[in-house]
Symmetry: C2
Subunit: 445 residues, 2 copies
């Protein structure tokens, strides 16, 4: 699922590699990954996916079947393919820790490696970081909206393929979700998995009561019953009767799940019926096309929900299904470079983000400077890979999640707003501006 | 990449399977896959992904490591896991051919299998069909906008993971794209791959002219040069000079690529400069945040483009990143079933779509009826799998693509419009309406 194919790249990376090889351009290059602009409804982004990037870089090599295919494809000749056979990633990587919050134009990952290596990995590296960052950033908003209620990722079926499904589970967990319904994500990342029941289970039975009873006896632990296949009120009354039957068997109904209709009115009705029957102990779990706005609206309206299942809109980041993310050459052979295309100009050279924290514990200012500068604030980019090897052991997912909780708490209020958030704008250091002028002067376009 | 893990499912599928097993509910179930509503900007959808569904069903089995994990997860006991070890998909599948066009509520795939098998596969089956159909449907709109100009999928880097990247290449090719930049998709699906050059290649060189020369000599075939790293006009003039140098070496510049700024004005400028130099033979390839609307606008404005690279907005289906797709139980043990949840009610029983074609060769009417009905029109759902085995050999991707071209040509004009298209609404047969009433009467909710 996390594919390690070296052919997961754009064809032009390989054609450029062939040209670099033929002209001997293998000096060290510096590339940086950053987001040019935040989507309108994002006041911050949450970095995620670094672990999968490092796994990709550590294992990067062309298999013999991939090399054979390249020759047979007719796009490349044998000398180039033989050269590819020996290619490994031998570079250095600096990156934000997963779970860190960041803003536009801030480099979140820097690769320093022989030009062909740094170039080849562009496509997959963006592909990995982009999606996990996208989902972690969306999920963090849902977490803020839910005010501590249980949140479960339900999005596998409409995630864009298998890798998206398991990574969405991982990224949302990083951002504070309690777990996912996706079993493979539970196995892959050792994160909590949750499950209830589907309408088809109820429909397959001749009566809803029978369906509830069968399910309760077969799956007595953490019992959650789905009560909207036919009529909600009738179903809740059946559950109340059933609970009395099940109690002597040691089976407790933990929650009811509502997946359709007006979730606020529906959950209020369910709560009232449960409370009237003395079942204050039974929770209410809401799902059905939810996102941070619907979760917030339900909470604000006082819907008596104990948890939410959030699916499609989380896993595809429905309001912003992509980020304007780029991986750009900043220096080659020791000389700073920058692109000056209309609307896509970049700051040259290896950079660092210096973050200053205010007396209130919130982020006061981010400054993008040269990595050699000494500016106040702590440095967001840390060394994570040196000469193709990890510098430290991989953090556990729990450690990453704890880091995200900590960093999300450092966001200024203006960034946290669900509607019309105002992201911070990083300051550009004077040294970096000078370097940009020098780089422009040095290149003969 | 196309993961075959049987754990690619939602936890509730497994808990329901355990309940079905314990209560002996293993009679045949009929599930159907359909889209409830089309996104606002879709006048039709294009079915894609069936081939990967059939591969998944043919190979479905729990590996010993998956089974071990299930036991250790604490969610399941040994008798259930032992039972899972023997689970295979033994059912029948009827489906629309890939490349077929369809509308809301029309079943596009029907599974008839013992209830646990049909239930288990829900999550992955939706996951596969949803994404490929999403991208094929978006891509078909781009194809209609481009009026025969070359179209290449550039979206790998911002596709949602590896599987999404290669499937987006496949689905867009099915819908009429000429190929993809994603190398792995070329290998996997034997579809044409295309590549140009990146800004980083130009930036890595001390001069743009040197970069063009190096690239041309290293990669002389199908040479496309990127001319907007610094100044477009200056770059085009350099290419014109260079072309004269390269011609004696037998190297021809095939096209120039513009990736930023005003693509219409930019391409006109490039065309004028090329024409003035007598280089009418050099094409112009446009890219940069394109979708069907921008491609159509460029074509309508008379931009002299010979082709377009379409990336992110295609691969994430930016204006509609998900479909309201569902897989619902329609019958169990010979008895029709339907869900009556608010806003999510379904038509019961095994169904068929009957399509009538008018004298103009366009679709005149679709009727959703019972599969046993004899209505006029040809039947869209065909038998593709029987008792877990394919009924026929898999069609080639070229055959699927040709079928899509043919079916897209049968769409009424109202569906084809890029802005505010009007999808067809399938008629419900009288027999099906009667069956729904019977199903409601038979179930004791």
């Amino acid at each position: 699922m996390e594919s390690s194919s070296a052919l997961l790249t754009d064809l032009y990376q390989l054609t450029m590699l062939d040209a670099y090889r033929q002209s001997g351009m293998t000096s060290p290059a510096v590339f940086e990954l950053f987001v040019r602009r935040l989507p309108r409804e994002r006041g911050y982004l949450v970095a995620a996916g670094l672990e999968q990037v490092l796994q990709y870089l550590e294992n990067l090599r062309f298999s013999s079947s991939e090399l054979d295919w390249l020759v047979h494809s007719g796009h490349f000749d044998r000398p180039f393919v033989d050269w590819l056979a020996d290619l490994r990633f031998t570079g250095d990587v600096w990156a934000l820790r997963e779970g860190e919050v960041f803003f536009a134009n801030e480099p979140i990952l820097r690769v320093t490696a022989p030009l062909p290596e740094a170039q080849l990995v562009e496509s997959r590296l963006i592909n990995i970081i982009h999606f996990q960052t996208l989902v972690a950033s969306k999920a963090a908003r849902v977490v803020m909206a839910a005010g501590g209620r249980t949140l479960v990722d339900f999005g596998m079926r409409r995630a864009h393929g298998a890798e998206a499904a398991v990574w969405a589970a991982r990224a949302s967990y990083v951002a504070g979700f309690d777990g996912s319904a996706t079993v493979e994500a539970g196995r892959r990342f050792d994160l909590p998995i949750f499950g209830t029941m589907a309408h088809s289970f109820v429909q397959a039975h001749d009566s809803e009561s029978r369906a509830f009873l069968d399910f309760a006896r077969a799956r007595p632990e953490g019992l959650v019953l789905l009560i909207d296949t036919y009529d909600v009120e009738a179903a809740v009354r059946k559950v109340i009767e059933l609970a009395a039957v099940l109690e002597p068997e040691g089976i407790r109904v933990r929650a009811l799940r509502l997946d359709s209709g007006d979730l606020v009115a529906g959950s209020r009705l369910i709560r009232r019926l449960l409370d009237e029957a003395g079942r204050q102990d039974v929770g209410i779990f809401l799902s059905g096309d939810l996102d941070e706005h619907k979760v917030a609206a339900a909470c604000v309206a006082g819907a008596p929900a104990t948890g939410f299942g959030v699916g499609t809109r989380l896993d595809v980041s429905a309001d912003a299904p992509s980020l304007d993310i780029a991986y750009k050459l900043q220096a080659y052979a020791g000389r700073p470079r920058r692109k000056r295309s209309l609307g896509k100009a970049t700051w040259p050279g290896a950079k660092q983000v210096f973050r200053e924290i205010g007396a209130d514990g919130r982020i006061a200012r981010d400054t993008i400077g040269r990595d050699t500068e000494r500016l106040s604030g702590w440095r967001l980019l840390e060394s994570v890979m040196s000469a193709g090897r990890r510098v430290t052991d991989a953090p556990t997912l729990e450690q990453i999640r704890a880091h995200a909780v900590d960093r999300l708490a450092s966001l200024p209020e203006q960034c946290r707003s669900l509607d019309g958030p105002l992201p911070l704008t990083a300051v550009i250091s004077d040294d970096l501006k000078r370097l940009a002028n020098e780089a422009d002067a040095a290149v003969q376009p």
